[in-house]
Symmetry: C2
Subunit: 400 residues, 2 copies
Amino acid sequence: MSIFLELIPVSEAEEILRKIAPLMGEEAVALSEAYDRVLFRPAAAAEDIPGFTRSVVDGYAVRAADTVGAGEALPAMLTITGRVGMGDGDAGQVAPGECRYVPTGAVIPEGADAVAMIEYAEESGDDLLVYRAVAPGENLTLRGDDFRNGDVIFPAGRRLSPRDLGVLGALGITTVPVCRRPVTGIISTGNELISPDQTPGPGEIRDVNTYLCYGYAQTRGTIPRVYGIIPDERGPLEKAIRQAVAECDLVCISGGSSKGERDMCAAILADLGTVHAHGIALAPGKPTIIGTIDNVPVLGLPGHPASAYVVMVALADVLIAAMTGCEVTRITVPARCAAPVPSTRGREDYVRVRLEGRDAYPLFGKSGLTNTLIESSGLLRVPDGREGYEKGAEVEVILW
Amino acid sequence: MSIFLELIPVSEAEEILRKIAPLMGEEAVALSEAYDRVLFRPAAAAEDIPGFTRSVVDGYAVRAADTVGAGEALPAMLTITGRVGMGDGDAGQVAPGECRYVPTGAVIPEGADAVAMIEYAEESGDDLLVYRAVAPGENLTLRGDDFRNGDVIFPAGRRLSPRDLGVLGALGITTVPVCRRPVTGIISTGNELISPDQTPGPGEIRDVNTYLCYGYAQTRGTIPRVYGIIPDERGPLEKAIRQAVAECDLVCISGGSSKGERDMCAAILADLGTVHAHGIALAPGKPTIIGTIDNVPVLGLPGHPASAYVVMVALADVLIAAMTGCEVTRITVPARCAAPVPSTRGREDYVRVRLEGRDAYPLFGKSGLTNTLIESSGLLRVPDGREGYEKGAEVEVILW
């Protein structure tokens, strides 16, 4: 009496998602807006960086050979012929027996091949006493040491970190070619649902999934667009789906935790487009639907919030990454099962776990409860070839 | 010939930062804007959630006692007296020998104490054959199972995740009391610096720190405000600092990698306000300055981008967390040193490392280079009581 005619493995669902994912186009954003965006094309250095040999300390540009043998007892004596200022383009020359003061970051004069730190030197009129020998190249950053002209610094598909922004600045890339952010349409269905700003009457509960999907869509670099709570009726649901598909790049419909609702959602998808999968060997998340309408991917998520969220992490992540040309980024930490985690061979389980130090405590909440979503640190994935984990097993936890 | 009169330990710098941190006030934001914001006050449940006992499956609400002994060979036979719809407030009653159809999430009729799944039941006219006994409470979510009236669900200081947004929706909290986002003023100093949209001439380099700080400020939930590149001259720098302090909640000044520049920045801070620390036993980051002007914290960061970023992670994180009433959140993963990491006892070292599986490779770039910022996975902290780590040592890496 199985509800689902066919459960497909998660790997097959992922393959479908990558196949139906429409690649977002390119847009240009200012560097200040580029954080967490995905590079659309590689970023390369258009010149050597730095463009000149610099001092990395405050000190005196010297010819290293002039300091050979210098020490506390017998300092080398050089003639100070000038001082280089920050940003000076012409640092002059250092001939044998000469030196010039250079602050950190300044250009090294021609002829000099090292810098003696001020900590080990002493001015005496126009003379400098150097108390420590320096080797050729010491305290220098050479032209091109950071990045070389033509080097590809970031590949396409890179999700830009704050540090990347600084380096893009160094490269002179102030208009950044990034992948357009997908618009995620969010539909919640269920006759029992009311808006969170209302007080539930008998039999009613507040809609959790709209804001759950909203926050999820934001964290994944997409733009959430809310279509509200739609009753479980063919007409309104079909209308909402048509509108969302026309306005969005992907659509997440949550709800339909009862068989009738699920069937209606799948039927609408089949009528308006194509159902690629209905029923996935994934727990929670078995009743998930994958469809497309006019090439717009549509995910039918379970109604239970915790299940819906797990499906987004397990599957929508794959879809969104493919749409934006990047990899799914998951932070995992090694942990030890603090209790047995049973599972059924032939399906992939995502168990919410709470980390306490190295110990991962599985949280087996009743279906439909949301408290495990906020008490857990992340997910323990049990691959479909395993019958769970024993207490003490070494595992990897995917952090939320 | 030490430049710094006094280096204070990192722990003391942290204490200073927590003491000078002005706590941001409260503001109310819509739930859709609350992702990654910090709760200003605790969020509690104002009623039991769910507000009624619900079915977690599609099935038939029964009295468990009526199914005792039921099995494939000898099913229990009950009379179907109705069907409960989703959102129905009145689910009716189930008397002994009776049952009612309930979809997932619907109200359980009075008198019923369990639900028999449709998978193990069969309708025959008005009769239902139940092929498997159910225990009292089976397949039910009880009123208050998720959250109980009065329970504090989130403490003040919670940084809101996407999952938290869903749960706030469940609690009916659609206007969220959050901590106001600090405005971070960003000043880059240096005569050698040019804007990233310009081409460097001899002796010039593009400003990296503005966008590095910009991205950093964004990731820490603050609002970056850029004051541009200021030359190393007392007048313009003082003017920029005055303006930034008047308009921002904290100010980060980067640059001043040469002694003269550092001294000028510290002198301006001392004239306009108070210098709490100048010189910290931290590498990189020794020349860091901590000051306040009109109760606005001002951080003087090193000019080298990698050093500046490390100081932001090591110290500005502490300041911003204290200003927003939350904890510093760091994701750490265990790793093994793939090479020796030397350090000096008496200072705290933050070494950039690249993770390859479990192995952490220290990246010892020359000072002033930025490539280690994008090639590293995070930081290995060497506490001031240690002389580094040997190859193979078990360590924790702070992910960027």
